[in-house]
Point group: C2
């Protein structure tokens, strides 16, 4: 193997990301690299005092910048904090004074950003903020997706308005998503289907990924979203995907410059038939591979081959399925860290 | 069925407890009462806005009195808070001034209780505090168990000394325990083995209980404790119990008068052979029954037939196995509430 892998901070990505470098030219992550790690002879050796550190590190990579929270102003609607906006990004919003207002509520929230009181309905707010985002343009809010996220204070609360997905981190909106672990039991050993992202993806090209994951757009519930993403991302028919089970949630919050990502991800598990082979239908996946869970665990622990936020989802799976035990130091800390973000 | 069941606060127990009353005389909870609830025709009806309330209520019953925290002084050893002692219970400790000292550290902790600086080793501390407990007697610390709990600031930290189990709540010591869900899959449907406590138990006589659960005494790790309790409480041989899987943890904190209970409970799941029948070996269980998980869920939701802290463990099981879904209001709140205590 002539490639040299290193992990580094990649400024073009939302998270510190795995980067691949070779002595000559660029080298793409292949399944051979993955299998090399996961089949290394050290797989079963565990030093209980340090074994979990590789996992904790991956959770930290999705929860950066908590010391920078004071740089953000609360974004408040009808008395509820729905997001956080960087105090310098706020400057770009000031000229849109028929959309945003800057107040001090005199109460516990203090200085905050709000919507103009004349914007009363969800529809009015949605189109007014969309207007601002369009005028700010790709320079300030890149990678517009034309997909709307609901803006609310917590999951069960009413939606105040809807916001372009790409803008969510600039307004510190809590985004909801689903991720699904699809697995097969072969000779009593669980195997996870793992996806490798297409090399043409703008974010994390070529990295490993969940079999199925996706943001929860406005107006669709978790179960329907799982079925939809199963179809699009892995070609899993509804007759199978309807059996996916909700098994909890994880959350994280990550501050990177002006971007304040807050995510709550609902976890699903699906036992797949042995004969099933996933097939990507939206062009976002390069290939899939069925890998023993023990080996996936080693890849998560030892490398940054996975898209960073995937790691949290898989660590959650490892906890629930008995692959991490309390005899390892830091068990409870790691468990709690899986809902480090505002999980509401 | 001639018995009338009501739930009420029972002052003689550590927790609000199920109490059984009948028009004439006392009526014992039987499996018939349980099956009557669990097989009621409303089992599958779910109103998503209120369905989870029955579960949330059971979690609240184990997390009382958080508004009373200010009545307790921190119990500090070597700069670490290891417990909390009620400011009136502290008065009983003052005369033991060669064991306890009452200080203000001038730092963030403020007024606190500590051990005498001459008590330097774990052994010295253990025997000095045991002396105090013995002299306080059953009047102040009832139900002495002659079982030692380790006193530490968090699970992976060194043990400062060991304390009689019955005294733990009076010193607000965080106690660690294990609980195990034993289940069988019959025709694709999971069934949980449920225990009914002996009517002669001093706490929660006759109530429903986990198949296997127990405190984590000093000097034994979780896995060994699971194996030990499996043998004692349900007659599960090591050859089977060794397959129990660690699947996470729950925590709760409950203030009741002078008692500050803080518990972290490590969760285990064990798939049992269809042919296996549990057999109690320590006389603490009246009988066992294999009940479909869906029915167990209804019993938890609608009654207080279960020993209160069991409910949290079973709700955790329901989450992990897909019996509770995000479409129900309060899903994330309920999930977070399972580690409401100091889970460290």
């Amino acid at each position: 193997m002539s490639c040299k892998f290193s992990s580094s901070l990649s400024p073009s990505h939302n998270f510190p990301s795995f980067s691949v470098s070779a002595t000559a030219g660029t080298c793409k992550l292949t399944w051979d690299h993955v299998l090399h790690i996961s089949e290394s002879k050290h797989v079963t050796q565990q030093d209980p005092s340090s074994y979990l550190q590789g996992y904790s590190h991956k959770v930290q990579l999705c929860n950066r910048g908590s010391d920078k929270q004071s740089e953000f102003l609360p974004f408040v609607i009808e008395g509820h904090v729905v997001g956080f906006i960087h105090n310098r990004f706020v400057e770009h919003l000031r000229r849109f004074n028929n959309v945003f207002v800057f107040t001090n509520d005199g109460g516990p929230v203090g200085d905050c950003v709000s919507l103009h009181p004349l914007l009363k309905t969800a529809e009015e707010r949605t189109s007014a903020v969309a207007y601002v985002i369009e005028h700010l343009g790709e320079k300030y809010i890149p990678h517009i997706r034309n997909e709307l996220y609901p803006v609310k204070s917590s999951f069960d609360k009413p939606t105040f308005f809807s916001l372009e997905r790409a803008a969510a981190p600039y307004f510190g909106i809590k985004a909801y998503a689903i991720h699904m672990s699809g697995y097969v039991e072969l000779d009593g050993e669980k195997h996870l289907w793992i996806a490798k992202r297409s090399h043409s993806k703008s974010t994390y090209p070529g990295l490993l990924d969940h079999l199925v994951a996706g943001g929860l757009p406005y107006g669709i519930d978790c179960r329907e979203n799982v079925v939809k993403e199963c179809e699009e991302e892995a070609g899993i028919p509804r007759s199978i995907s309807i059996k996916a089970k909700p098994v909890g949630a994880i959350s994280y919050m990550d501050i990177d410059g002006y971007r304040y990502q807050r995510y709550v991800v609902f976890s699903y598990d699906l036992i797949l038939p042995e004969s099933f082979e996933p097939k990507n239908e939206d062009g976002e996946v390069d290939s899939f591979k069925l890998i023993p869970v023990k080996h996936v665990a080693e890849v998560i622990r030892k490398t940054q081959f996975f898209k960073p936020n995937c790691a949290i989802g898989i660590i959650d799976f490892l906890f629930r399925h008995g692959y991490i035990s309390p005899e390892n130091h830091g068990y409870l800390d790691l468990l709690r860290s899986l809902i480090k973000g505002d999980c509401s």
